[in-house]
Amino acid sequence: MLRLEKRPSPSRTWAYLAPVLAVIATMIGGGVMFALLGKDPFEAIRIIFYDPLFSEFAWYYRPQLLIKGAPLILIAIGLSMGFRAGIWNIGAEGQYIIGALFGAGFALALYPTESPFIFPSMIVLGALGGFLWAMIPAVLKTKFGTNEILVSLMLVYVAEQLLASMSLGLMKNPEGFGFPGSRNLQQYASAHNAELWVGSGVHMGVVFALMAIIFAYVMLARHQLGFHIRLTGESPKAARFAGVNPNRLIIFCLGCSGALAGLAGMFEIAGPSGQVNIDFNVGYGFTAIIVAFLGRLNPFGIMLAGLLMALTYIGGEIAQSSLGLPSAAIQAFQGMLLFFLLAVDLLTNFKIKWAKAEAIV
């Protein structure tokens, strides 16, 4: 009989190995899924994981890695702090939309004024929008003890309706011939989140993602607040005795993740996406949950996980055009990755022992 024995403390080796094993298992599992869809599994896996980096068109795909990775990393860094403390913000997608609407709304209101202050103000407003949207579940949780998972998630659907209303109404392009969607911010120099070096994929969002990684690392490793977050996650009771104020922690974690998600949305709408439109949000807020777990809730881990997940997005797009692989396949693939990760994680916390049948004393 196999028996599980709890480790006194989580194994460090397995904590690092688990994500790698999970990725390998997902490649195998994904290969089986692609084979069932009637595609060559080896070719599909090669296209998803290898071609974006090393094929002859890699010069085009490599910058995409940063463009798609930056929002995932920004959001996941914020989420990871809450997840560590057992505060579940599932509504990053909504905070991402509201951040984008705040930033874009400000720019569209000022159009066509040109000023160097417009873009910095958009950054502040984007963060503020996400922060305020996240404060709704935070305040309800601290004041009434309402479940933050359900409230933050419900607000995603509310935000999607707001986005639809804005792109069809208030923010619609007056010169757009009646088509839904706002003016394109890429053609508005003061508001455009342009690449810092042409063709590199590096826009301000990438810079902010890097800063977020460093700040999060320093805070978790060196600051008292980071210690309180880790303590609350590992033992809520001990944290209370140590004088941690749970309400302040809830406000901080939700506010922080909301602001970062709002920033991600604002950088996206002012740059790669460009337009307030119904199909603006593509699920980064949900994929970031997988990124946070795959990165072990560790800032540098999240950076790697975010890039890997961006790779599957790009590879998935290539596979869509060259193999006719449905776009949903990549979503299922990402979900599978999280399943495998959660399964392999057993080895981090438990030892598997071969137990002999014991005589009952």
Binding site: F144, V156, A164, A328, Q331, M336, A343, D345
Partner: protein
């Protein structure tokens, strides 16, 4: 705007149809949570059930086989959650989210060739004379069978939890898995079975959506119904009879806002479409405001990991 176009009788009749999917999903989740497991994957299981049921009904031409396959599909995908949380001892919140994300992807994948197809019509109760009684006829005697199936399921769960020995064991496992284990009950087996029952119910709920309520297949068509079902369990304070109240309340809001949209009320459509989600939040706040009471009703071992060390 013409509010007189909204007929109260038809409103009640259609709210019963509209609330059936969430009623089915939430009664299943209630059993799962009563056994001490929090499965946040309801949305994922529902949508997998929706496409399994839709595909099977289109392929065989029989809605009954469709519903059967929907229940099987929901149960099958919930088995992943059961294995991960019960045998691999994973975090239930994270695993439930993974189930939702995976289910949304998988269903879109399975449903690709079913977009824009009409499913076979589900059998509808139509008794001569009785269905023609004014007011009572349309409300009580002229629905498709899912409405009656969902209602009997709620009654069945209520009876099972309250009056049977197995129901008592299930509740014991949910209140204190250690005590139940010490008494010799198979905690893991009870929980796996509850999770699969919840999956089957969510699958049926999904099929009620894709075969009866809409009836069509579109990607992501559950649009948060699974999450609303989770909220209804909280609203119902984990009591089966109150699940009915909660589901009909939400069904009522959904139908009313659709009717208002059709009647051309001057509120923009998007703001009316928000209302079910906003009402969910308001109800959650109202329920949790009384902290002492709401904490008392929740199963004590909810979402705690069970690991028998001996």
């Amino acid at each position: 705007m013409d509010l007189s176009a909204i007929s109260p009788t038809l409103l009640v009749a259609s709210l019963m149809v509209a609330s059936t999917p969430i009623l089915l999903a939430s009664i299943g989740e209630l059993v799962v949570e009563k056994s001490g497991v929090l499965n946040l994957g309801v949305e994922g299981m529902m949508i997998v059930g929706a496409i399994c049921g839709f595909a099977a009904a289109v392929l065989t031409g029989s809605p009954m086989i469709g519903f059967l396959c929907a229940a099987l599909g929901g149960a099958a995908i919930s088995l992943i959650f059961a294995v991960l949380t019960q045998y691999f001892l994973s975090n239930q919140v994270a695993t439930g989210l993974a189930l939702t994300l995976f289910g949304l992807g998988l269903s879109a994948l399975l449903g690709q060739s079913y977009v824009g197809i009409k499913p076979p019509t589900t059998y509808k109760l139509d008794l001569p004379l009785i269905s023609d009684i004014p007011i009572l006829g349309p409300i009580l005697f002229s629905h498709d069978f899912t409405v009656y199936a969902a209602l009997s399921l709620v009654a069945g769960v209520w009876w099972f939890l309250k009056y049977t020995r197995s129901g008592l064991i299930l509740r014991a496992v949910g209140e204190s898995h250690d005590a139940a284990h010490a008494l010799g009950y198979k905690v893991v087996r009870v929980r796996v079975m509850s999770i699969m029952f919840g999956g089957a119910c969510a699958g049926l709920g999904g099929a009620a959506l894709s075969l009866v309520r809409v009836p069509q297949w579109t990607e992501g068509m559950t649009a948060g119904s699974g999450w609303i079902a989770l909220a209804i369990v909280v609203f119902a304070s984990w009591k089966p009879e109150r699940i009915l109240l909660g589901a009909y309340l939400f069904g009522g809001v959904a139908v009313l806002q659709l009717n208002l949209q059709a009647a051309g009320v001057s509120i923009p459509v998007e703001y009316l479409s928000m209302s079910p989600y906003l009402i969910t939040i308001i109800v959650l706040v109202a329920m949790s405001a009384n902290r002492a009471k709401s904490a008392l009703n929740a199963p004590a071992a909810l979402s705690r990991v069970f690991h028998a060390s001996r």
